[in-house]
């Protein structure tokens, strides 16, 4: 197992360089002069623009800029934003918040989604199954920003149960509402996935055998049905970690959270290469680690799966 993990970790290195190179190139190719745009409709003297461009090596060809960036990384310097803040400051500020938000959302969707999906699957065709279907279709079809505004209006502004926006430091209590919004769509998918998988497994041979062996219903459901049904769900959750971490732009905007999504969005519109690349690189790593964890969980969940030597 450890050899396998080690090899997977080694794979991170080429992926990291490939990803940063590609992303740097894409940011570099963005139309428009980022420095000119910094000043809006009132350009400073050309000389000032030139001086700033030289500070950020913007006059150099792409490949030189990229090597400045990579060289910086190797010496522990991730570069600075156009406002002069070290990118590492932004990383340290944004990632913990987004991470907490994503984990909270993941916990919501995993626990509630699997539970509801399991019950719906076991009671296929009954009232509970039908209502779960309706609710999940509703959540899938309502755009996040609509749901976000509605929940914010009802639970924060009208009822006053939560703060309207997340306060400084993003305490966990403030993140509950945004995490619910963020989790909503994936929650619905997980309910559907679990339900389908559970109802498939209900008729599987090994379940019949287990029941015939005289195992209790409880043991059959929890060990034989549920565990085998979780494989597609775990795959989905693994992919979803990445989506939750980057895809929170809308939710972050509604609840004024200074997370990864908003920071990257702003950096892209400003053409701030170092910021975008550093953030995306960290996200690529998170994504790959999440997938590694998923692959390890496969083996844990399904005895038939072996990890390649």
């Amino acid at each position: 197992m450890w050899g396998y993990v080690g090899r997977r970790l080694l794979q991170l290195i080429p992926v990291f360089f490939g990803a940063t190179f590609l992303i740097y190139f894409m940011v570099f190719s963005l139309p428009g002069d980022p420095i000119a745009a910094l000043f809006g409709e009132r350009p400073p003297p050309e000389a000032v623009i030139q001086t700033i461009r030289e500070q950020y090596h913007l006059n150099d060809p792409f490949i030189v800029q990229y090597f400045y960036y990579v060289g910086g990384i190797l010496t522990g310097d991730l570069g600075t934003t156009y406002s002069g803040r070290p990118v590492s400051d932004l990383l340290v500020q944004a990632f913990p918040i987004t991470f907490r938000l994503a984990m909270l959302a993941l916990a919501f969707e995993a626990i509630a989604g699997i539970l509801l999906g399991l019950i719906a699957g076991l009671r296929k065709g009954k009232f509970f199954d039908g209502s779960a279907l309706v609710v999940s279709l509703l959540l899938i079809s309502v755009p996040t920003f609509v749901l976000g505004f509605i929940l914010q209006y009802v639970f924060a502004i009208q009822l006053g149960w939560f703060r309207t926006t997340v306060s400084a430091g993003a305490p966990l209590g403030d993140l509950v509402l945004p995490a619910l919004v963020l989790a909503s769509v994936s929650f619905a998918y997980i309910v559907r996935l679990t339900r389908a998988s559970v109802s498939d497994n209900l008729g599987a041979d090994f379940v019949r055998t287990a029941t015939a062996k005289g195992l209790s219903r409880r043991r059959v459901v929890s060990v034989h049905i549920l565990r085998n049904s979780l494989i597609p769900v775990v795959t989905f959750l693994g992919v979803d970690v990445g989506a939750l971490m980057v895809g929170a732009i809308v939710t972050e905007g509604i609840f004024n959270i200074n997370g990864v999504g908003g920071t990257v969005y702003q950096a892209v519109t400003r053409g701030e290469g170092p910021t975008v690349v550093s953030f995306v690189a960290v996200m690529v790593i998170i994504y790959m680690l999440a997938n590694l964890l998923v692959d390890l969980l496969y083996a844990a969940l399904d005895p038939r799966i072996r990890l390649a030597k």
Binding site: D33, A36, V48, Q50, Q93, R100, T164, A168, N256, A299
Partner: protein
């Protein structure tokens, strides 16, 4: 190899739990509490460290005007009164003698002296410091020695493709600034400028303490000022979150705060700020999101503001396009102007949060007039528009060229551009349409390079309350923001005469005449003035918005 299944699952679960827990542990306890007497309001993360000569955007600007006091300050109407200055005297509008009042100090105890101003201005002008406000000093003698200009607005590249080098400065300080003694300094301008004092309340002209010049970037994180407010200790500025300002007990001017402090929370979207306003987490909000235009006045009944701001919005038609110059161009420009139904667009698209334009400046500026000669060209009349267009067609037929209006689609402009082009199409029987660019930077590239295929949206927010600040940067021959290449000798002369006029009233007359030239040539088609829309909660009173759309924080009372 076979896994110990339960074991791996346990490891996975444990790992996940640990991650969530470490995440939680990173919490801190600075959750904003609306303390007694502290006003909470909206802001946005300053783009740069808080340095007076390097802040041209609103987010940093409203912090700096709160923590600094300059030679003059502005009241709600944009009228100036001396703040640190005892007097500003001149005989010829060229050489100015500035005398300071006694008793002003920075919050670190250092006295505010003539050198505090002169050193700050010299720092701002020096090219190697690359300060974005450096051009504010370009009318001071010696500026070209410290900040040589490259006379090529379009290019950062030479003709052969090589990168232009920034010329090294030949001096460190401007020879036009002379410190006479601690309380006095003189300023020599390149040309006479009667309303020069008007600009001295702008952030670029604030004084800086000695400590600033040791490490300007570090200073900008914890700036030390002499204004009505000061930062609430080291680290009062939490990046991307908020900044805490408290009343400065040593402040020696007229803007003495009626409250104990101001906390500005930074919002990425106005909608989130508005939600906080509705949820009672914010005392004052100095803007209203589009989504609330229809409802904010009923929701915050009696606690709203909706008044014109010093923001002028227009569409520019480049001078380099065929059909848009000479007599034909004049007719066509007038036709376009006549074809846009400003009243209807401001009422239905903007829900009354814009005011139709009657000149090229703003109603909040001293010297504004809605009775300029020729201003009727800004009134909608489809018949006259069609007639003017037909006259132009008689000179040279326009054909079926599409008339497009370039705009950046990330700025909420699509709705009005679509309405305006519809209005033009209907009145003139041509195809008019919007031409979206993904970002502001992208749109600016074509403007700066002079490669537009049609009109472009344009806007201007005044830095300081003066007609000149609206006119010179945008329409003077070769001026910095005159991207569309307008050039009129008559207009330039009137501006020059205005700036050498002996007093402000005479100057205003020239500036109004200059605008009448613009009304004839229409290098830009004025559309409307943006309004400032604000709301405040029932905890606070006496909320008044200044000429620059920012509330006068020092006058707000709470509790």
């Amino acid at each position: 190899m076979r896994f110990n299944r339960i074991g791996t699952a346990a490891v996975g679960l444990g790992l996940a739990t640990a991650l969530v827990l470490t995440g939680c542990a990173a919490e801190d306890d600075t959750a904003s509490t609306s303390a007694e007497g502290i006003i909470t309001t909206n802001g946005s993360e300053p783009q740069n460290p808080l340095v007076t000569t390097n802040t041209t955007e609103v987010g940093g600007g409203k912090i700096l005007t709160s923590i600094y006091a300059g030679l003059v300050s502005y009241d709600a109407a944009g009228e100036i009164s001396n703040e640190v200055a005892e007097s500003l005297e001149t005989d010829d509008s060229i050489t100015w003698t500035v005398t300071l009042k006694d008793g002003w100090t920075f919050t670190n105890g250092e006295a505010v002296t003539a050198s505090s101003f002169v050193n700050a201005w010299n720092y701002g002008a020096l090219i190697t410091n690359a300060q974005s406000s450096s051009y504010f000093f370009d009318n001071i003698v010696g500026y070209t020695d410290v900040n040589a200009m490259i006379d090529d607005p379009a290019g950062t590249l030479d003709e052969d493709g090589s990168v232009l080098q920034v010329p090294a400065p030949t001096a460190e300080t401007m020879s036009g600034l002379t410190v006479v003694d601690d309380q006095t300094f003189t300023v020599e301008l390149v040309a006479a400028e009667a309303d020069w004092p008007l600009r001295l309340g702008y952030t670029a002209y604030m004084p800086l303490p000695e400590v600033a010049f040791e490490d300007m970037e570090a200073f900008g994180e914890n700036p030390i000022g002499n204004g009505p407010y000061m930062l609430d200790g080291e680290g009062a500025w939490e990046h991307d979150i908020d900044i805490d300002l408290v009343a400065n007990p040593d402040y020696a001017g007229e803007r003495v705060p009626a409250n104990e402090g101001v906390t500005m929370r930074f919002y990425a979207t106005l909608d989130a700020a508005y939600a906080d306003m509705q949820g009672g987490n914010l005392d004052v909000l100095d803007a209203v999101p589009d989504s609330a235009f229809e409802t904010y006045e009923t929701e915050f009944d009696g606690r709203t503001a909706n008044q014109p701001a010093a923001v002028f919005q227009a569409i520019n038609i480049p001078q380099y396009l065929e059909h848009w110059t000479g007599e034909e161009g004049e007719l066509r420009r007038a036709a376009i102007s006549r074809a846009i139904n400003r009243d209807e667009i401001t009422e239905f698209i903007f829900q009354g949060t814009r005011t139709p334009a009657t000149d090229f400046t703003s109603p909040v500026i001293d010297g504004y007039s809605d009775e300029l000669e020729g201003a009727e060209v800004l009134e909608y009349d489809a018949d006259i528009a069609a007639d003017l267009w037909a006259q132009a067609d008689a000179i040279a037929p326009y054909g079926d060229t599409v008339f497009d209006i370039a705009y950046n689609s990330d700025g909420g402009h699509q709705a009005w551009v679509d309405a305006a082009t519809q209005s033009i199409s209907n009145a003139l029987g041509i195809t008019a349409q919007g031409k979206p660019y993904p970002t502001f930077a992208d749109a600016l590239t074509d403007r700066a390079a002079g490669t537009l295929t049609g009109a472009t949206r344009a806007g201007w927010q005044a830095d300081y309350p003066s007609l000149y600040n609206f006119l010179a940067p945008n329409y003077q021959t070769g001026a910095g923001s005159n991207y569309e290449g307008y050039s009129s000798e008559e207009f330039d002369n009137l501006l020059d005469e205005g700036s050498v006029a002996p007093d402000v009233e005479t100057a205003t007359g020239f500036y109004q005449d200059a605008q009448e030239v613009l009304l004839k040539d229409l290098p830009t088609i004025p559309l409307w003035y943006a309004n400032v829309n604000g709301v405040w909660g029932d905890q606070v009173d006496n909320v008044v918005f200044g000429w620059d759309s920012v509330p006068l924080y020092d006058e707000i009372t709470k509790g």
